[in-house]
Symmetry: C2
Subunit: 342 residues, 2 copies
């Protein structure tokens, strides 16, 4: 089979920019790469693997000439472009939340549920960034000792909101340091030197959309509809990499040593856990890396079957771009494209 | 009874500076105020209520001329000066962790357990800042529906470490923005644009001292030795005011509406909870205020008797200085000084 023709939609955004790096780093087997972005970027060029690639508009004609569409755009755009691409014979790997909970759309973290890719009908969804790093830390334990309940509080980087939010954090921080007035646009409140207990919009039950996603997506990825989960999602003034405090309750006691071994042996997870040397996962050190870093692994002093841990990962890489490219690799490996290739 | 003579030890530190403001704001009934600090500050003057007060060294002779000693120094210094002051007839209100878990030392949040002041033998301890704001949010609920278990993850401001840490955050942030090298001193890692899952040193069981304090002090203040509690304490790049995500399990279900009413009616607590308007407690807005702000009150979707909330308070005020001055007020009101006053 010849290598697939790939199009990246949303190539100039926070995730798209990283997706280009990841495709090059992983030497993704593609025969051609096309890149799409919004109208104001069309005609500009973007670097990929030492070449300059012209930015195009996403159109049915373009999708008809591609096999895999990596969608690194928001939910509203995905709702428009994903069906368009599928209709033209592309398999869509979609990083937005648009189709994640659709029963006909696999929601995949390849290390965990790669086989789910086989059931796709044109779209495979990339989970929410906060969810991905959490399930990477839960799954190696859950499969040997079923998880009953998870409480998670997040410390999420602003790049999850997009490139404009990173710019706002930088600019606003400088303004606060200079004693100048600030003008929040990306968030309802000051994000510099502050923490915001709101990620996305509020739902009727008082949880936010992000908090709801962490519940529903975790159950779908782990094939564990019975896991109880409650999250508080919080934005912190960090540019890249989400941190999470996890409190996990298992069916049976889970010794710390066993958990550490299971996590260390799991592909894509790295254990960084040496309190005596003040070593634990950090956003600054996870940035630019593909691993999910786990540390501060300890018995939960408040529950006989409980474990507490600290999980950090680059939200743009394993949380979005890398996971998406890994899904595309699975599609190729499994010969699961829509269009037959010679 | 004539007004007591007060000495503030540690007057130039992060908490001491705020304690001076709080004493003035509350019009604390004192007949004289003396201020102590380390040797390099002795002889300088410090403003209090429009007057300039000379900084002195803390000595037995000085304590012999005072009735109440407010100690706003670290644990090591308190171990030296608190017994010295008591021996000279001063009642000590100590903000450090030195004596908090001593069975003979009341650990007091006046809104909750003011009566415990009566049992003092010379020292009354001010709880840890993270603990105080948490128990202020727990107690109004606990007394009508006993709490079984609490999971708390914190977002703690750097001023909890002291004035030097606030300076380090400011300076380091400017260095990172300028692309200059940084030199962490107050923390083992970069704090600017980062979050550190470590507050104080690690213990044998993998928890930190701060996390242990939250367990032990909560049980002591609430007179509830059976409460199960697990904390992850995290330092965030915020100058002042700690935020906390609380997940509480009660003996019986606790309706959100009832919790909101109980909290709103409790002195010292302010409910800020209007998700439709993106209103919830924020560090930036709590700073300089004495209230403990509670919001994002919602049922815990993972537990039938659970409640989740977000609690923010100024760690230098209710978390330290204000609570200390309130304790001193109780001592005066209860006529519970060591030295008889005419």
């Amino acid at each position: 089979m010849s290598a697939p023709r790939v199009v990246l939609v949303g190539a100039t955004g926070a995730v798209g920019t990283v997706a280009l790096q990841v495709l090059a780093e992983r030497d993704f087997p593609l025969s051609s790469l096309r890149v799409c972005a919004s109208e104001r970027s069309v005609g500009k060029r973007i670097a990929f693997n030492g070449e300059q690639v012209k930015i195009e508009l996403a159109t049915p004609e373009l999708f008809a000439e591609c096999d895999i569409a990596l969608m690194a755009v928001g939910s509203a755009m995905s709702h428009i472009y994903a069906p368009m691409a599928v209709a033209q014979g592309c398999v869509v790997v979609d990083k937005s939340s648009a189709f994640r909970m659709d029963p006909g759309v696999p929601l995949v973290v390849p290390e965990i549920n790669a086989d789910d890719v086989d059931g796709h009908r044109g779209i495979v969804a990339v989970p929410n960034c906060s969810t991905t790093q959490m399930v990477m830390a839960l799954h190696p334990l859950h499969r040997v000792n079923p998880i009953q309940r998870v409480i998670v509080d997040t410390y999420q980087a602003v790049s999850g909101t997009g490139a404009a939010a990173v710019a706002e954090l930088t600019e606003q921080t400088a303004q606060v340091l200079a004693g100048e007035p600030i003008h929040p646009e990306q968030y309802p409140h000051q994000i510099a030197f502050n923490v915001l207990p709101q990620v996305e919009s509020f739902l009727e039950d008082g949880y936010t959309q992000e908090e709801r996603k962490m519940v529903e997506e975790t159950r779908k990825i782990l094939h564990a509809p019975g896991i109880a989960l409650s999250a508080t999602c919080v934005r912190v003034p960090v540019p890249v990499s989400h941190s999470e405090a996890l409190h996990i309750e298992f069916e049976r006691p889970m010794p710390v040593g066993e958990a550490r071994e299971l996590l260390a042996a799991f592909p894509g997870v790295a254990v960084v856990d040496d309190p005596a040397r003040n070593e634990y996962p950090l956003a600054t050190e996870a940035t630019g890396r593909d691993e999910v870093f786990v540390g501060r692994i300890r018995q939960d002093a408040s529950h006989p079957n409980g474990l507490v841990m600290w999980v950090v990962s680059d939200n743009l890489r394993k949380g979005a771009a890398t996971n998406g490219v890994q899904i595309a690799e699975e599609l190729v490996r499994r010969n699961a494209l829509l269009r037959a290739r010679a």
